[in-house]
Subunit: 392 residues, 2 copies
């Protein structure tokens, strides 16, 4: 690993691999094929935009661990991991996006050659980077193997963050602080949406004097005017209007660790309905933050928020947050815990969440969110953006 | 569809759907489940960053067409498509990232209710957005259906661009022109990599006075110094050094249409090896561009380039380009044609490619690329960035 590309000591990667093997053993999984780029990075450090082709990290219960990917991406593995040369295993370029042959055919051959082809193999069946065809190819190439679904197995090992991980997330929090400072400096009616996003991306990438801004797993989402009802809409070149509100769903990112932070921005004097929702959401956030401590569950924290909203007459039928950390597109969530009533996961110190109490109506929406880490005394916020309806 | 969100006339979407149904019929596919967000957008206009949850467009051979997705994304479907309300079909939020239930279980129920559950169904088995688990859920829920792999079926219909699509790609070309102007204005030794990328993202999102810059399906790739050997590495906060080269793999984007354009930038007096490769690559580009005309094949264009490289003593064993157009992360390629020797696809007027003749060595790399469209007289470039080694 190139020293400037090192994010964690070798011992921390080793401990992550140990925990993963322990979880594998508990489920009788002898070999794990990890295609989720976040999991690949967490286990080994591997970091590059090569996930648009098939690649994986293979973890054996009894000590094997190798990276498998496209030939031209081997230099990225050398730069960003501690893997020895024999554990950087490549496939030739004619396997890329070919209708006739599949990189997973090739991996099956590698596993057979290494006498690993008859194991009980865990695969991440519900991940963006493990397609239905990848599963079929592996299965056809390894007739003697038994496959099981290990979606989320590594993700769950990531739930409780190390001190260094939390440090990266706080740095990401400082980055998103800079982003909102820039928004408040430059945003004004008559500006085009893409102009505002250009400023956001500039500030988010510049970061702070000592923390570079990395790319977010989700681009800045901006819903303005009637489009604020559409919570995952992206920008166009339309003008931002006076006497109009918009939500901004943004993140600061450092070394792939995310600190999302959403706010609503209003140009002009906000109408009563904005102030009413703001009041309910801020009280709901306060009531929930205190509950993010060990022993409580995700569901309890969520219910506190939903209860406050209901008291004020608002209904929310979607989850109000999810676990966060290291991530790659298309999602900055970890896809394990959700903040919703039926999630009974017990909170532990060091877990991190994007507590995301947005509400959307037929023709507008409102978001104020906080990224937090669980501590014995309740949530600690990872960023310090003023928690209020932003007005200019 | 909201008028400001309309990218194509209703007739163009109808024609795309007709072509898709024709291709389905030719392969005996009665129902097509389209999960690739690029294909969803091309068929209906649907455009939002909601592809991190399961969603699709379902196309029936005999006229059905509906969008299926998460409840909170229905407003995005209303804003960006012409679909009537009954064809915007949603699943409840507790299906999102749940280990116990899957959105595709729900879709199976919708198909059964609509008497579509016993058809011959095409699914995009090798797409990021159709996971192995999605395939299993559908299969379990539709025992009477027959499934086949329709990966690329819609992508292939997208290969020849309409006049309006080419106009969007040329606008994207003007956007990337602005990006390189900014790079040449501000890049200098001692700048941090993330500072340069901040400038790139700013210019790429600002676009031109009349074309907003949209987000690219791949973030700016910058390989500087020894990292230039790693072709998919992303930035960090390291300083850019004098007497050092870097590749920049960037795209201009407008309304989801991409115009990628790579260049190599050298700070100082480039050493001989840079000039030698530049000479070979520029001659190789010239020899290949003339061949991008109807009747020739992808392989012939690629061979012309490989032949020139070889003449100068360079070997390249990976493809030198791929078809491009409308795209979403993680790949701006269309995943149909590749510019490599064994691709025998015949070129047609209106096809568009990123002709990407990069070469990577053990400790450096060099890229000069052009996005082009096929015309009767050879390639027309979609952007006008000076085609040379950039030096500052």
């Amino acid at each position: 690993m190139k020293p400037t590309r090192r994010r964690f000591e070798a011992a921390e990667y080793a401990e992550r691999q140990r925990r993963t093997r322990e979880a594998m053993a508990a489920r009788g999984i002898e070999l794990l094929i990890v295609c989720d780029p976040s999991n690949m990075c967490w286990l080994t450090g591997f970091d590059g935009w090569s996930f648009y082709v098939h690649q994986c990290v293979v973890v054996g219960g009894d000590g094997e661990l190798f990276w498998f990917g496209r030939g031209i991406d081997a230099p990225t593995a050398r730069l960003t991991t501690d893997l020895p040369e024999q554990d950087i295993v490549v496939y030739p370029d004619h396997y890329v996006q070919s209708p006739d042959i599949h990189p997973m055919d090739r991996l099956a051959g590698v596993l057979r050659d290494r006498q690993l082809g008859t194991r009980r193999i865990g695969v991440e069946k519900d991940n963006y980077y493990f397609s239905a065809r990848a599963a079929e190819s592996l299965s056809a190439g390894l007739a003697g193997a038994e496959f099981c679904d290990a979606t989320g197995l590594v993700n769950w090992q990531r739930a409780v963050k190390s001190a260094r991980e939390i440090e990266y997330m706080k740095r990401a929090g400082r980055v998103v602080g800079e982003v909102y400072r820039r928004v408040m400096d430059v945003a004004e009616p008559g500006m085009r949406k893409n102009e505002l996003v250009a400023e956001i991306l500039y500030a988010a990438t510049l970061g702070t004097a000592d923390c570079f801004g990395d790319y977010p797993a989700i681009v800045p989402l901006i819903g303005a005017g009637d489009e604020a009802s559409a919570c995952h809409v992206t920008w166009d070149g339309a003008l931002l209007e006076v006497n109009s509100g918009m939500f901004l769903e943004l993140a600061g990112v450092h070394a792939r660790y995310h600190c999302p932070c959403s706010r609503t921005l209003y140009f002009g004097e906000p109408p009563r309905k904005y102030r009413d929702v703001e009041h309910a959401i801020l009280e709901g956030i306060d009531s929930a933050l205190a509950l993010f401590k060990p022993g409580n569950t995700c569901g309890q924290a969520a219910e506190a928020f939903f209860g406050t909203l209901k008291k004020y007459g608002y209904e929310k039928d979607n989850r109000c947050g999810y676990s966060i950390g290291l991530s790659y597109p298309p999602d900055w969530g970890e896809r394990t815990m959700s903040l919703r009533s039926n999630d009974t996961t017990e909170l532990e110190t060091g877990m991190c969440f994007h507590f995301m109490p947005g509400v959307w109506f037929d023709d507008w929406g409102f978001e104020i969110s906080e990224s937090i880490t669980v501590t014995p005394s309740g949530a600690e916020c990872l960023s310090a953006v003023p928690r209020k309806l932003l007005v200019k």
